[in-house]
């Protein structure tokens, strides 16, 4: 009886600890991902303003920087919690691992430090710095954000594929911090994370403004935001697919038990098929709604359609995660949502970005670049001050940005502007 009580207590403590750090990580990741992607989007928007003089871009950049300030603050404190919690929840693990994988944590702290400083300069320097200097001050923060994501993911890569140390007689020896940090999974995991952060932010921002559009606020402000988000996504999503494939191969090569868990492969198969779907059935080992594509898993994982993929059941119980079903569900969610994103990005993105064509989501009465008023009116570069925009008056009054700087007086629209006017 006592032994049962002790074992129950041990399991529930472990589960509680996992639940707590899992919750903290998920919470932090939400804000951290936006903290990586938004600086890039703000810089692009502000850069577009510097290049074209269009105040819509500046208004977008300013609005995003205001939002970013709050997100960054919450992301920063949630990140502080995690570094604390590593010691509070997993002290024995940290005693053993801290000396091996501590280097990327320090470097991540350094990158975050620089980011915090330059974010402070950028967010509060709108009125203190000249536009060009202000834009330049945003570059270190975008770079540092990506760098800190890079460093911290090398630590996670080490947790997946541990290298750079030996355990002799129960003691950690022969520690090589660089080998630990640049373990076999470092390149694929870090690039997948950073690209994922940019993609999530791009889609997230675009979706916010898409909702605004569905509510009737159809103006240049919303269109430019969506265009920027989806253009970024259109460029990065194919890259992410490629990186995802490489990461899958890394998992197949170094973490066969994980591969079996996330692909839902219970028994070893030669020429293993890829399970599309296959949601784990609660309480049993069955799955529902599965379509199995023959040979595809072997092909993806090992480049040979007849390769043998080890099944989950063939691993020793100690090497099998008890969380295989949630891992499978999470993996299905990731792949499924990625496919949905790609589809929406390609269809809308093509419509928005193709030059000379009015986007499908646009109102039909927006002036096309060929109309004269775009070329000769000094305010023509600003889409919503053109007459058709004003006729939908409610949209500009309530959802337009706070006053951006008016177009420079006396500036004739250059031919370059008419090219960009497809975006507005």
């Amino acid at each position: 009886m006592l032994m049962t009580n002790i074992s129950i207590a041990a399991v529930s403590h472990l589960t509680t600890g996992r639940a707590q750090i899992g919750t903290s990580l998920s919470f932090h990741l939400f804000f951290a991902v936006l903290g990586v992607g938004l600086p890039l989007m703000m810089l692009v928007a502000e850069g577009m303003h510097l290049r074209t003089g269009d105040p819509v871009w500046r208004a977008l950049a300013r609005r995003w920087s205001k939002v970013f300030g709050v997100l960054f603050a919450v992301g920063a404190v949630s990140g502080t919690i995690i570094s604390f919690e590593l010691g509070l929840l997993w002290p024995r693990f940290m005693a053993y691992a801290g000396g091996i994988i501590g280097l990327p944590f320090s470097l991540e702290g350094a990158a975050f430090f620089l980011e915090a400083i330059f974010v402070g300069i950028y967010l509060y320097g709108w009125d203190r710095l000249s536009p060009r200097v202000h834009w330049l001050s945003g570059i270190p923060s975008a770079f540092s954000a990506a760098a800190s994501a890079f460093f911290i993911v090398t630590a996670n890569a080490w947790m997946n594929v541990p290298r750079g140390f030996q355990i002799i007689d129960g003691r950690v020896t022969h520690v090589d911090p660089l080998a630990a940090m640049f373990n076999p999974a470092w390149a694929t995991e870090t690039s997948h994370m950073v690209l994922g952060a940019y993609l999530a932010t791009a889609f997230g921002v675009a979706s916010v403004y898409a909702v605004g559009m569905l509510r009737g606020r159809r103006n240049a402000y919303h269109r430019k935001a969506i265009a920027l988000g989806l253009s970024m996504a259109a460029i990065l999503a194919p890259l992410q697919m490629g990186v995802g494939d490489l990461l899958g191969r890394t998992v197949a090569a170094h973490q066969p038990a994980t591969l079996a868990a996330i692909e839902g492969l219970d028994h070893t198969e030669a020429g293993a098929g890829l399970n599309l779907g296959g949601f784990p059935f609660p309480g049993d080992s069955g799955t529902v709604l599965n379509v199995k594509v023959p040979h595809l898993l072997s092909l993806l994982a090992y480049d040979r359609p007849d390769a043998t993929v080890r099944g989950f059941d063939t691993f020793a119980k100690a090497d099998r995660t008890p969380l295989a079903a949630p891992a499978r569900l999470a993996f299905i969610g990731m792949v499924g949502s990625a496919r949905a994103w790609l589809r929406s990005a390609s269809s809308i993105g093509c419509g928005v970005a193709r030059p000379g064509r009015a986007p499908r989501i646009a109102e039909p009465s927006w002036p096309s670049p060929r109309q004269d008023r775009w070329r000769f009116s000094p305010t023509s570069s600003d889409g919503w001050s053109a007459s058709s925009g004003a006729s939908r008056g409610s949209s500009t009054a309530c959802s337009g940005p706070r006053a951006g700087s008016p177009p420079r007086p006396g500036s004739a629209p250059r031919s370059r502007r008419s090219r960009w006017s497809t975006w507005g």
């Binding site: 404190v77 570094s83 604390f84 509070l88 000396g99 350094a110 974010v119």
Partner: protein, 330 residues
């Protein structure tokens, strides 16, 4: 200097920077709480915090990463022995950050904003209290004679620890008040500066009382610690007390720049005095800088990365501070 000792110096430097910079931030929150009815005071406090507070709090992450990578067994012992006060400090930091971030978009005097402000202020007081308890407990544990193996026990609820916690609160408030008074006087807002002067006097008196009180309590309740404080750390203790006294006199005489410098000096001396008084121990009598350190290659790698951090970060921090030293003229 051995890599472990060098990293201990970095750790001390990071903790001092955190205590001074983030201490001023916590103090600003405490003053915000105390100035509940004066919107003008609170607006001034908020404009002072805004650009700097993120950067100030990163020193804590820097200190934690040094600890976890260079002294992993000490980090682990800290997590087990001081789980409660560190968790409290953590929750306070979270609540503070979230409240500050969320309230910045709200209009003044509305219900949610008032609640968030109170949360912000209360959390700003709890965090230094918790860290002070941790510091006091660690100092007392380090001089313990017990050599029992097994989990370290840190007396973070002892009278000495409680006094150190209260000292931390007063010091934070004093840092913030002298900063604000100096800034306001420099831009000519004398009446406002006068209100922060009053707060600085109150906080300064509290700091002095609690530091002397702490020494007296150590004399009776933690004699071995008192011996360390008056032996190895004596110059720093004297410097701290002198700095606190000078700060009080300077504030009374409306010499705010001098008061700010004296408070900073006193704060740094207090942190280093604490560090020296318990060195080479980190957590308890057995875990020292040398016994708790990671392997050689790891220490070298961390030391190099710390050096790189300081070389990159310190100039950037100067840039940030110099940009926002004066309130915006527009």
């Amino acid at each position: 200097m051995s890599p472990a000792a060098l990293l201990a110096v970095f750790l001390g430097f990071a903790l001092t920077a955190y205590a001074l910079f983030a201490g001023a931030d916590f103090g600003a929150g405490i003053l915000d709480l105390l100035a509940a009815r004066r919107a003008e005071d609170r607006a001034v406090i908020e404009s002072g915090i805004g650009p700097l507070w993120e950067a100030n709090h990163v020193w804590l992450i820097f200190a934690i990463t040094i600890l976890l990578s260079a002294f992993p067994t000490a980090f682990s012992a800290l997590g087990t022995a001081l789980l409660a006060p560190l968790a409290i400090a953590l929750l306070a930091i979270v609540a503070r950050g979230a409240a500050f971030g969320l309230r910045s978009g709200l209009d003044d005097q509305t219900g949610p904003r008032v609640h968030l402000s109170r949360l912000f202020g209360a959390a700003s007081a709890i965090a230094p209290l918790a860290f002070g308890l941790v510091a006091g407990g660690l100092a007392q544990a380090s001089s313990s004679r017990s050599v029992a193996r097994g989990p370290v026990s840190v007396p973070w609820t002892s009278p000495f620890a409680i006094i150190v916690g209260l000292l931390a609160i007063c010091l934070c408030a004093q840092l913030a008040a002298t900063f604000m008074a100096n800034r306001l006087a420099a831009t000519g807002r004398r009446e406002l500066a006068g209100r922060f002067r009053a707060r600085a006097l109150q906080a300064g008196a509290g700091s002095l009382v609690f530091s002397v009180g702490g020494l007296l309590v150590a004399d009776t309740a933690a004699p071995r610690l008192y011996a360390r404080l008056t032996d190895a750390a004596l110059p720093l203790v004297v410097l701290a007390l002198a700095g606190l006294a000078l700060s009080l006199l300077a504030v009374a005489g409306r010499r705010y720049a001098l008061a700010r410098a004296a408070t900073l000096l006193a704060g740094a001396a207090l942190v280093w005095g604490w560090f020296i008084a318990q060195s080479p121990h980190l957590v308890g009598p057995l875990l020292t800088i040398h016994t708790a350190s990671a392997t050689g290659p790891a220490l070298t790698a961390i030391a190099i990365s710390c050096g790189v951090v300081l070389v990159c970060v310190i100039p950037a921090m100067f840039l940030l501070f110099s940009m926002f030293a004066r309130p915006s003229q527009r």
